[in-house]
Subunit: 437 residues, 2 copies
Amino acid sequence: MKIIHIGILGYGVVGTGVANLLKQKKQLLESRTGAVLNLKTIADIDITTDRGIDLGTTNLVSDANLIINDPSIDIIVETIGGETIARKFILDSLENKKHVVTANKALLAGFGNDLVKAARKNMVDLAFEASCGGCMPIIKALRESLVANDIKSMAAILNGTCNYILTKISRDGSDFEDALKAAQALGYAEAEPSLDIDGFDTAHKLAILNSLAHGMEINLKDIHVEGIRNITAVDIEFARSFGYIIKLLAIGKTHEDHVEARVHPTMISSSNPLSHVDGSMNAIAIDADATGQTMLYGHGAGMMPTASAVLSDIVDIARNIISGAKTRVPILGYPEDNIKPIPILPMEELYTKYFLRFEAQDHPGVLAKISGILGDNNISIKSVHQKGRKSNGKVPVVMITHIAREAWVQKALKQISKTDSVVGDPILIRIEETDQE
Amino acid sequence: MKIIHIGILGYGVVGTGVANLLKQKKQLLESRTGAVLNLKTIADIDITTDRGIDLGTTNLVSDANLIINDPSIDIIVETIGGETIARKFILDSLENKKHVVTANKALLAGFGNDLVKAARKNMVDLAFEASCGGCMPIIKALRESLVANDIKSMAAILNGTCNYILTKISRDGSDFEDALKAAQALGYAEAEPSLDIDGFDTAHKLAILNSLAHGMEINLKDIHVEGIRNITAVDIEFARSFGYIIKLLAIGKTHEDHVEARVHPTMISSSNPLSHVDGSMNAIAIDADATGQTMLYGHGAGMMPTASAVLSDIVDIARNIISGAKTRVPILGYPEDNIKPIPILPMEELYTKYFLRFEAQDHPGVLAKISGILGDNNISIKSVHQKGRKSNGKVPVVMITHIAREAWVQKALKQISKTDSVVGDPILIRIEETDQE
C-alpha cells in the first residue's frame, strides 16, 4: 500500500485535532484512500505538554524545518495561525514542492494571492477547506459543485462567537457585555474578542469566499466591516416586531462589473432559513442561477469540525497523488490566468433598506422634523413606530425605509443628529431581503 | 485548448437542462476547466419537438448507439430514466470505456452494485450527484468531505412532492387529496403520484446515501418504506401541540454490526433544523463524529438544479481527464474491495418513541383499557391527551410513548384494535429526537 507522509506545523488546538483524526481514523482513511496516511512529524515550539495523543512512531520536534525540508514528506498542514511565521513556513513548503493544507483565513485573506501564485509555480496544491465555515464543505461546493452556476448572492453567518452572543441577547434580553462574558465562559470567545465581535474574522472568510464565487483576486481591504458591539436587546425586540431577526452577516453580491462585499449586523426575515441558525452554529446561503437558493449549515469552528475539514483536504490531495493528478482543481476555482481583480462597490453606493432608531424628544413636531430630513435626502419611509418606553422625556422612534442609497442615509442621519429633536447617535441596521420577500 | 466530447442520452426535462447549461455556460465552463466541454450529440426517440435550445453544431439523433459507439465521446450523460433501456445503455457505455453521469436513482438503487462493478472493470467513472438531493452536493460531501468521519446518523427530506403536501396540510389544514391536487397543479406531483407519495423515491435515495455513508453495498429491498397518504391535519395539529412537526424522513443510523434504513412520516421537534424545511425544499442532516450536526438544504428536483448537479459531475470528470487522473475517487466512496454488505435492522427490532392516536369510545374505562394493553406489552406512556372533538360518541385519545420496541407496539395496537374500546385502525407515527432533546 502506498504511504503518504504528512507533517503538521503547530500542535495547538487544530493541530491536535488533526493528529487525533489521523491516528484514530487510520483504518477508515486507509479503507477510503487505499493508502497509508502516515503522520510522520509534528513541529511545535512546545514539545513537552501532553496533548493526550498517543503519537506512536510520529516525531514531535521543535524545528519546523525538519518537516519543511524532509524530502519524504508529501503534505504539510499549517495550523500555527497568524500572518508572519505561518506565511514564511507555507511559502518555504510550497517552494519545496510540498502540498499545503491550512485553516489560516487571516493569512489567506491578507496574502492569499501570493500563496496561490507560489503553489501554482511549484505545481502543488494549496487547500483550505477549514478556513471558512469549519466542517461545512463550502470551499468544495464553490470550486467543484456550483461550477456551472453564476453566483448571484451569498449571505452567511460565519462567526460562531457573534452568533452565540446575538442569540443570547435575543433569547434572554442580556446586554452585550453579559452575553460576551457568557461566550467567554463557554470558550466561544477569546479574552481579546475583537477579531470575532468586530467582524474581522467574518471579513477574512468573506474575502476568500468572494474570490471563489467570482474568480476574482482575494480582496480584503475593500470589504466594509462592522461588528456587533452596538446591538442591543431593544433593537432585537424592535426587529422582531417587524418580523426580523438580527444576524452578523457576510454578504456578497454580483453585479455587471463589480461585486458587493460587506460584513455588518443585518435584519433578515424570520422566513429566511438563516434566521433559524442559532447559538454558535454557522450557515452559508447561496443563491445561484441554476440551483436557486441553497444552504450549508454546521459547526464553523471547534477542534474536531475544523480537523474534519483539514482531513478532507488531506484525502483530496492523497487521492490526487495516488491517481497521478497534478493541479487537478484550480486553487481558487478558476485557472490562475482567468482570475482578475473585480472592484468591490464602495459602501456609499450601496442601495438597500434600513432600520433606523432615534432617541427622540417627546414633543410635537419631532417626527415631522426627522421624516422631513429623510425626505429631503430622497429616503422614503415604509413604516414608523413611535410608542411606549418613555424615559427622561425621550421616546424611541423607529423607522423602516424603502430602498435607499447609503450615502443619502448617512447624510440624513448626520443632519438629524445635529437637530435638537434627537439625543445621541441614531442606530442604523441594514435590512436584507431575498427575492421572494 | 483540450476538447472533451459529451453525449446526452434522453432529451427530456433533465437532458434539456443539461444541454441548456452546457450551451449557456460554455464560457464559464471553459474558464473553470481550461477545456472545451463540447456537447457533440444528443439522442432521443423524439427528434422533432423544439426544446428551445439552440443546438448549434450539436447533433440530435434517434439512435443512442451513435453516442455509445462514437469513439470521440468521453462522457455520456444518461437522463432517460427507468430501469430497462437506461440500464442497457449505461452498461454498454461503460463497456465502451465512456465515463457515465446519471441522475437515475431508481436504477442506482436497484442495480447500482452491478453498474459500479462495470465502471471499475473498465476503469471509468460513474457519477450521480444529481440522483440524491438535486443541487445539494450530498454525494460529494459523503465521498470527499466527511471522509474522516464515522457517520452516526442521517435524517433527510428527499422528496419535494411529499414535503410540499405536508407543508400545505400543515399550513391550511387541507386534507391529503386536496393538497395532492394542489401539488399536481403546480407540477410538483405526477399524475400517477405513487413513486413520490408512497415513499419509494425517498427510499431509492436512502439506499444510495446509506451505501456512501457506510461503505456498504446498495440495498434497497430491506429498507422499510411508508408514505404520507394517511397523514391528516388532525395529526399535524396534535403533533404541534406536543412541539413536533411531521416530515417524511429518510433515516439512516449506524450500529455496531448493522444499520437502520427506513422511510416513514416522522415527528421531529420544532428545534430540529429539518423542521423549518418547508414547501418543495429538501434537506439532509448528518450527525458525524468529528463534525457533529451538519445540514445541506436546497432544491431537490427541477430542471436546472438537477442539471447543475449533472454539470458538477461532468466538470469533475473533465478535471480528471485533463489532469490524467483515473478512478480518482471510489464510486461509492470506498475502494470496491472494501465494500461489504451490512445488514439493515428489521423493522420489528427498531426501538424508538411513538405517537399513537386512537378513535376511542367516549365512556369510562377506555383509557385504562388502552393503557393497560400498552403496559402489558412493555410500552410506557410519556403523555396522554384525551380532549374535545367528540363526534358520534367518539373521542381521539393521543399518546406519546417512551422508547419502545416496534414489535411490541405493533402487537399492542393489534390487541387494542380488537377491543370494543376503539373504532378503526390506530394511527402510529414514529418520533425522532436528536441527542440534545
